[in-house]
């Protein structure tokens, strides 16, 4: 008895599916009335919310680049802080 009482097999079915050869048209029975994701969807049905197919050549992960560059800046500044201030700034150190 699941709390998420999605109508079995309808909302849960893939609306749009793609494989290597391109988009596979969804069959009419599984098409949702709106492009909104079903509110009560079960796990793993993110593709029900797909509104467009983006192929390999049309996709530039610019958002990813921005995020990882921010991460890189954080990494570098934290490293410099930890090494030169926290570590080398300590009183007693093992010296040669």
């Amino acid at each position: 008895m699941a709390v998420d009482s999605t109508a079995e097999g309808s909302a849960a079915s893939p609306a749009l599916r793609a494989d290597g050869s391109g988009g596979v048209p969804a069959d009419a029975a599984t098409q949702n009335s709106s492009s909104e994701p079903p509110v009560d969807s079960i796990v793993g049905t993110a593709d029900d919310g797909i509104v467009r197919q983006i192929d390999h050549d049309d996709f530039d992960p610019v958002g990813t680049l921005v995020l990882v560059l921010i991460y890189m800046v954080i990494l570098l500044s934290m490293w410099v802080f930890m090494y030169f201030i926290e570590f080398l700034g300590r009183g007693l150190t093992v010296v040669g």
Partner: protein, 588 residues
Amino acid sequence: MATASQRTFVDRFPDEAAVVKANFLVAFVALGIGAFFGLVQTLHRTNIVRVIDSADYYTMLTGHGVLLAIVFTIFFLCGFFHWAIARSLDRPAESKLFSWAWFGLMTTGSALAAIAILGGLVPNLGISADVLFTFYAPLQAHPIFYIGLAMFIVATWLAGADWFLSYRVWRKDHEGERIPLQTFMVLTTMIMWYIATIGVAVSVVFFLIPWSLGLIPSVNPLLTRTLFWYFAHPIVYFWLMPAYMMWYTILPKLSGGRLFSDPLARVVFLLFLLLSTPVGIHHQYLDPGIAEGFKFIAMTNTMFLLLPSLLTAFTAVASMEHGARQRGGEGYFRWLGALPWRDPAFTGMAFAGILFAAGGFSGMINAGMNINYLIHNTLWVPGHFHLTVGTAVALTMMAGSYWLVPQLTGTKLYSRPIGLLQVTMWFIGMVFMSNAMHRAGLAGIPRRTAEPQYQNFDFVTPIGSIFELRVQIALGGTLLFLSVVLFLFNMLLTSLGEESDRPVDEYLPAPLSGAEGSPRILDNLTMWTGIAVLLVILAYTLPVAAIIQNGGGLFGGGLPVPATISAGLDLATTALTGAVNTLVGVIA
């Protein structure tokens, strides 16, 4: 690789589903007990609630470490790999009996080790294994602890053989085809595991079992310690690889997108195969008896090991972004809002990834040879690995269960909102706990100790107070325990639920950039295994030889022999290993 069949895994492979379910069951039982021990510890060492003796703290700590880091993770991994092999090769395992045999051996081994550990709570029993997860000799456990451990390791070897056998049979019918991605990941991970477990097998079978039975009088503590770390750094990747596999093959689907690049995923797994093992000495930066040159080699290898993880970060985020944009996301940052945040399987993995980014940073500090003085054996270290194995791995596994378990039971997830609450609680609890642990480590508070304060001195922290840090650790630990309770409750009710025609959407879409564009040499597992073994020989032969020679022979206790390894030879190995590393970098 995708079978777009409407039937779920349990309908197609009922026998395999049963094996996977059994593995998950053991994993979840271990998770529950281990998490309970964790709660007791977090409240004890912060002096909030004390129900045990401080001497018993270490029994609980051993139980917590072994049950969560060995039993939970590896049973889950075995279940998950068994699922992945059957699914991606689209064929059942060759022998049902064999699958149950390794599962049975693994469970027996775990039970023996667990009895030895829990025996420590019953003083009159005479059985105990208060040696912690690292079981450094000359601390001694009852023989059944080591015997259980050996059985467990052998069982994982048999499990690997099961999957290799499936692959070999599949290969006969699929001459010239590329190895399916999930199978590729399972096989490379298992090859790494075979190489890595040699260390612990030698340590346990040749030294610790005879020693604990009284057959040999002593062991060489530095040798068994080095053999332990030879095994126990790669085990980190053995935990991590199933999580990475989920991020590469399942997370894109959960986001509504497709894997960004199949070839790069293969390269990443190969880099882990090559570099995971020859790095164990980075856990021994502060060990006497190991020359600085060997420590430096271990460090360069470790630093290059950052590369596959940084590549994974890019690929995983790019796959999510692809999903978000297919779901209508726009802009540099706004696409993040278009991700399916209401799906606990997705959200859990995303949270795991965020905390892994933070844990990656503290790991970089751990890996730095001399900066290691700053944090060695302080609370910083458990702060770090609660972000990696405790979140990147454990939370990904729990999140993955929301998607995997319905395929095995044929029932729907009991409650998605509870699942979402559970992963969020884990995230918040872990932020509180690990953040405070990192800070406490910088204040010099040691790991693995039952008492919050010492008599001769006080710990000081520049911002805030030590008391606040303790409260944060206790609060975080409590949230984590409650999160596990919610998870187990949700899993239990899911498995008791009614059968459903379509419990979960289990279809996995093809990658954006497929395997066909990558060089075939990536699939040449024999060659990569050879290189991995070569790297291990290069990194370990001389240090182990020096340890045996200087530390009084294989079994210790003998007269010490002066060091004979010359500085020139040392330099030559550094140069050679450096060159191989560069070569590997170029190939990648």
